[in-house]
């Protein structure tokens, strides 16, 4: 599952819709992201290809909105509300996710187990 910028990408994706939780003035999605084109991809523990600079879900708050929606740690975020996330900086991704005027974000994510499941079902 390598994502080389500029190359077409084949991925099994899952659509995840997260309804943000309002906590005081904060809107909470309940997960954290890592990665981005400005980050050292070698330190990303979730990517198979250590040159992958994509945005990954690094933690999911148990019971939080993201988890409820089915997001899992290690998921790679492909899109947020239709915006590409495979070629963004960390901060761009964060901002895209945390817009205060959006109560819902729709993610397109991919993960290893999805790939495997597909492969499994094809075999």
């Amino acid at each position: 599952m390598s994502f080389i910028p500029g190359q077409p990408v084949t991925a099994v994706v899952q659509r995840i819709e997260i309804r943000k939780l309002r906590q005081g003035e904060h809107l909470i999605l309940g997960f954290s992201i890592g990665g981005g084109i400005d980050q050292d991809p070698g330190q990303n523990p979730f990517s198979e290809d250590k040159s992958d600079k994509g945005i990954y879900v690094t933690r999911v708050t148990p019971g939080g909105p993201a988890e409820v929606a089915g997001l899992m740690m290690g998921d790679k975020v492909m899109q947020v509300n239709g915006w590409d996330m495979t070629m963004v900086t960390h901060d761009q991704a964060r901002k895209r996710l945390t817009k205060k005027n959006e109560d819902v974000v729709r993610l397109l994510v991919t993960r290893k187990s999805l790939e495997q499941a597909v492969r499994h079902s094809m075999m």
Binding site: S32, G34, Q43, G63, M73, L97, S113
Partner: protein, 962 residues
Amino acid sequence: MEDYDVRSAASILASVKEQEARFERLTRALEEERRHVSLQLDRSNAPPTGSSVPPNSQPLAWQQVVMQEQSPSNQTSLAMMQEPQEVVEETVTIEEDPGTPTSHVSVVTSDDGTTRRTETKVTKMVKTVTTRTVRQVPLGPDGLPLPEGSSPLGSYTDSIDRRYLKNGERYITTPQATSTLTRSYNNYNDSYSDTPPPDADVTDNYGSLSRGGNFRPPRYPYAMANSYRPENSYVTLPIRKDDYGHMAQPQVPMGSSSVDLNRSQPERFQPEPYGLEDDRRSLGPEEEEPYDLEPDYSTAGRRQGTLPGTNRGRTMREGYEDPIEAELIDERHPYIHGMYAAPLAQPERGSMASLDRLAGRRSPSIDSIRKDPRWRDPDLQEVIAMLGHPIDPVKSNAAAYLQHLCYENDKIKKDVRQLKGIPVLTGLLDHPKAEVHRKACGALRNISYGKDHDNKVAIKNCDGIPALIRLLRKTNDMEVRELITGTLWNLSSYEPLKMVIINHGLQTMTNEVIIPHSGWEHEPNEDSKPRDAEWTTVFKNTSGCLRNVSSDGAEARRRLRECEGLVDALLHALQSAVGKKDMDNKSVENCVCIMRNLSYHVHKEIPGAEKFTDPSALQAPGSAGPQRKKKDDAGCFGGKKAKEEWFNQGRKNGENDKNYDTLDLPKRTEPTKGFELLYQPEVVRLYLSLLTESQNYNTLEAAAGALQNLSAGQWTWSNYIRATVRKEKGLPILVELLRSDSDKVVRAVAIALRNLSIDRRNKDLIGSYAMRDLVSNLPSGQQRPAKNLEEDTVVAILNTIHEIVTDSSENARSLIQAQAIEKLVAINKTSQSSRENKAASHVLQTVWSYKDLRNALTKDGWNKSHFQPTATSAPKAAKNGKPGYDDTTLPLMEKNQDGYSTIDQRDKDCKYKSAGDGSVDLAEREPLKNDTHRKHYIRSNRPAVSLLDACDVKPQPVDSWV
């Protein structure tokens, strides 16, 4: 008329004859009974034979005699007293949980060869009296004693008479029963109660005993004055409480004791009369007391113990003191003289303690002493004053007496403390005479026992701990060493004293006790073969003490690990236990618990741990992650530092995956020693042997806990440990233990399996082989399984299941095949415990996330809604709730655990204070694992803590909360 007269005369004659006949029967029966009694008394007087000891004898008698010998009865008699040879000790076998000392009282006695355990059936005294009374009581026209009014003795006599009547009947009807007697009093009475419905009769007696109500008071008043007399209650058996008071009071010399009588709690002491009686009657050599006496019994024994010889004698007499008794005495003499070859006590001697024991105990002549007004027991203040008496034997006897007074009597302990007795006793520890420091130590041991930590603190405040340690270094007397280490064990149960004990005594205890008794040798002599450990009491006590102090946090662990020879010796002892297949005892349990505690966080706490830290796993998420959270991060939701560890973790996982089977244990150039032994893969075999062989749940739990601790964390050694467990075929052993009946064993094993499944191969194996056993431990909805596991255990199992199904759809498939979904759904929907709900919900969500399994799930009738968290679990709560808090030991595991960011932090803090299912609770509920769990846990929620520097090793990848 005449006819009538004749008839009347005839009928009168007939009735008289009938009465005569009855009377004759009664007399005969009495005669026979008397014969039996005297026969048996003779027999009992003779040296007892083994066979005469009833097999079900209860463990009381020895104590009584013990006490008698130990307790100085009076100043004047001190010098004459036989030296106390028995020791009653209380031991707190408090586990790591200092807050809830188990009420496990171990009693150890040293044998003086003159007493033994005897049967404890006990209506004896009562009956002895009563039978005799039968003779005394005027007989009614029916040949039976007159029930009412014929006695000049007053109300309580009346009731006694009624009692006698009953007994008399019984007696008459059961002559054959006496033939079964083997021992005089006891058996006499036994047979007595034999024929009539035994319980009815016996309980009757006891019931009235307890009603009599002066059983409770004994301790104090006892000591203080002779007021307390068990026999009173015997005599007063049938009498109501007021009657009791009525008759007791005149005999009570001091007002205080009557007060005590009134607030007595008789029920608790019902068994005591047994002990009492037994003791008096026990003539043979005493048997070694088994440990773990039932508290009641030991209490009984103890109380007796506090009763000095005089009292004893007197008490014996008390029964006879009431009016009936007075009449009976003469009658009794013939028996007694005949029965006892031993010389009678000489009443005028003045010191009951000096009386011959036998005679002193039961000779009627004591009553003259009883009436001797010169007799009084010293009160507590006087006893404490005697500790400073210039004559050494007085000191030692006073201390011994204090020991007995304090036995299981918190009130007296407190009084001793308030009367400033503890510094005096502590001072006596340095006394050159063995007798004195031994007794002082014994007293301190009892004082230090119990939940009243003030006593422990008082000992510490007068430098008792260094004094004990000094004495430990100085003395070679085993008994003294037992007392010292027992006291230290007691003291070690109180948290604030743990470090004090470590500071003063760790190396001494190790050098003086642990190493020598473990059989370990610093430089083994090639010629001699390795010695085995000796499970002495001293070793048991010392290891118990170290076990307690080992739970005092990181610093305590560090000190123990670095204590020279300690780990080596403990390991040697355990190995020798395994070798000898002797691993169910308390010493082994203590050793394993110490090892377990020292293994806790070993990967973070040992010097140079960084060297071994998996370079890719510098920050284990569980440990480092939450700790690094700072409140400041809250604003931007971006724990910037935090991300790195997650990355690192992931990478480490990736690498581990490749390394599983190519694990090379490091080559060692020189033998490991000291704390390094804690985490060498060799210990795995040791723990597995214990897990296989031991029957002791605490040992099993500790051994599983040790594996759990060692397999947690990301460093080279935990990788080795995880692989070694697999290679040593440890996984089946652990899985087997999931079937254990013991809740805590199941829990420890489940968590260990969870940690072990960090290793990918282990995860696969555990998924295939343990799933069924894990699932079978789960409750079905609200119904608990047969085992009825605690919430913590269920949560631990759920978390383990979660771990093994995460990233493994194969394991999720086994989970489904194990019929777990139904249970999980039921727990999720219906469990009363929100923690169980959440844990189950997490498993379900994980399962549902495997799309390839959904078909199968749908076929089974499940749909997505079953796998959603229940509506009730508000996200916020869930956030905090799920984290299996037991994960605190498992730094690696908590991917989705607490403390993601400071937002959570705030909630969590609140939760700790308020929530019912809070994690703090859990930590406290699971104290055995390690006290530090809690600390660590709490700490982990605070901002800056250790390991922080570790994060700075690399530039940190950004990780943003959204």
